[in-house]
């Protein structure tokens, strides 16, 4: 069985604009794979395709010997691929613990009829799920917030919640969409440690971000996209020294004023010092 997530030749046009064109890369288990690029590079579209939300015009995605193009999101989760959203998406009105439990949904088996009569099997399952959810909360220091309304969490806490809810699915391939955006330095460090832990469990991570400092501090492999295409693919060192990447980032800035300074700044900081965690990140951006 092939445990690699193999993406080959995926393309997607939106009303004539090629958002993603002929993108290929491979995410290996036990690795953190960075997908970077300036705003508008097509990262989010690529992630949408990988998670089943956007049907691609062409290309193939295979994982564990299964072709997954055309599969709906919930089927992909069952196949072992789960995603987070760029905007934290908790359910307000539910407690933090309940929110994590929604992530553990597919790990449960008890159906609605068992729930209606509170069968012993259901109660046992609920206890196990709750324990796992509390462990996940503890892993990001949120155990004491378990009973709070998810709507009352701070932005950084919501980002953690988004990630651990995704981990709760038990998926072996995790697609994280800018999990550190807007986080401060300490929060980013904690998240880095968590993703590191996930990698050591043998799970694969596709990390989408445009902060080079964060990406370089974590990734085993990096794919760089620009204008819908893959412009570089390799180890952090190779990407760091790639002239194409430098040009794309700087050129992209010159052409699109909206691309923003953090990308270019992030690259230079990350490029100069790969260990400089979070240094390229504007605080509270």
């Amino acid at each position: 069985m092939n445990d690699e997530l193999v993406v080959s030749g995926i393309s997607k046009q939106f009303s004539g604009v090629k958002a993603v064109s002929d993108v290929s890369f491979t995410v290996r288990p036990g690795e953190v794979h960075g997908l970077v690029g300036p705003n508008g590079a097509g990262k989010s579209t690529a992630l949408g395709i990988l998670s089943g939300f956007i049907p691609p015009d062409a290309g193939s995605i295979t994982y564990r010997d299964r072709e997954l193009v055309g599969a709906v999101p919930d089927k992909l989760v069952r196949a072992g691929i789960a995603r987070t959203f760029q905007e934290p998406s908790p359910v307000a009105g539910l407690t933090v613990l309940e929110n994590v439990l929604t992530g553990l949904h597919i790990q449960g088996r008890a159906g609605t009829l068992r729930a209606a009569v509170r069968s012993p099997l259901l109660r046992k399952e609920e206890r196990l799920l709750k324990k796992e959810a509390l462990d996940l909360l503890a892993s990001v220091g949120l155990a004491d917030r378990a009973g709070a309304d998810a709507g009352d969490l701070s932005f950084g806490e919501l980002r953690y919640l988004e990630v651990i809810r995704c981990l709760g699915t038990g998926a072996s391939m995790l697609l994280l969409d800018e999990p550190a955006a807007g986080m401060g330095k300490t929060e980013t460090q904690r998240l880095t440690a968590l993703i590191d832990e996930v990698r050591s469990q043998g799970r694969g991570v596709l990390l989408v971000d445009h902060d080079m400092g964060f990406i370089f501090s974590l990734c085993d492999a990096i794919t760089v996209m620009n204008a819908g295409r893959v412009i570089a693919d390799g180890t952090p060192r190779e990407i760091e020294n790639s002239q194409t990447v430098r040009e794309a980032y700087l050129g992209g800035n010159a052409e699109e004023p909206g691309t923003g300074g953090p990308d270019a700044g992030g690259l230079s900081t990350g490029g100069l010092s790969t260990s400089g965690l979070g240094t390229g990140r504007p605080e509270g951006a």
């Binding site: 919930d74 959203f85 359910v91 009105g93 309940e98 553990l104 949904h105 729930a115 799920l129 009973g147």
Partner: protein, 333 residues
Amino acid sequence: MIIKRADAVLLGILALAVIVIPLSLDDYWVLTFGTVGAIALAVIGLNVAMGWAGLLSFGQPVFMALGGYASALLATRYSVNPWLALLCGIALSAAVAAVVGFPVLKLESHYFAVATFAMSLIVLSVINGAQGFTGGAIGIIGIPPLTIGSINFAEHVPYYVLVWVLVAVALLVSYAVRASRTGRAFRVLATRPDVASSLGIRVRRYRVIAFVISAVFASVAGSLIVEFSTYASPDNFNGDVGILVFAMLFIGGVRTASGPIVGAAIVTVVPVEATAIGKYSALTFELILLVILVVWPRGLGISVATGVEDLVERFVKNLGKPRASVSGGQAHE
């Protein structure tokens, strides 16, 4: 927690009232609150579908009619035991909800709302059209009552007890579901169906489950209404009923345990009492509903209960305060 403190306290008060009413008030109120309980069952069902799973359903009268007519027709035409007829009504309602819900719940919520409204029109047309079988507009009379031994549940007090025991069961069952992965799935897919599916939740499947639960509770309500009056008529189940059930949920408080009961009581009792005003009683009632919905969008019962809770909390806090800090507060002023 799933049931907020103010909601739980209000529910406790209601439970007490339900026990006290037959002991202290006359037959008229036992009868009235028996009816309130029966309709509250349909509202509890809607709280599951609409409140938790976000399904904009006007379908409660459809399943009340299916339950009611299953009870009426099976018992009168085929001499089926009334309890068995009630169960058949539940099975029929659940099946119809699943079969209709599966294709329709793929659509966005407002299409679903229209579809449920259409269903209620279809059911009425069938009842009125198939006169030979359903009795048409005239209805069916002489439906045998539910009985256990010598207890006849068409009599007011036994009926009242049966209805409120079933309301308690419906609340327990619905909140047990809410506390499970099914209930959590409802809450995610109601607010963010995309997030739900990103977590592996089969959105359509859980929408169908919620719709089926609402249908089952409505079916029991329909059967009870028919069994009590020993008479089934299409008037009991027209589209107005769907809107009233909806209004009951929002007036009482959506996503609360006490709400369906409070709402059913207000919408059932107020118009009857308002007839004392005379000519403009219906208009007065409708204005009252409107004011409640505008002033207390979370529901009348829960808003008042939360308000009282805040007052009590403030009072208790002041009691606990040492004198010095109280005088300090005064000095500050």
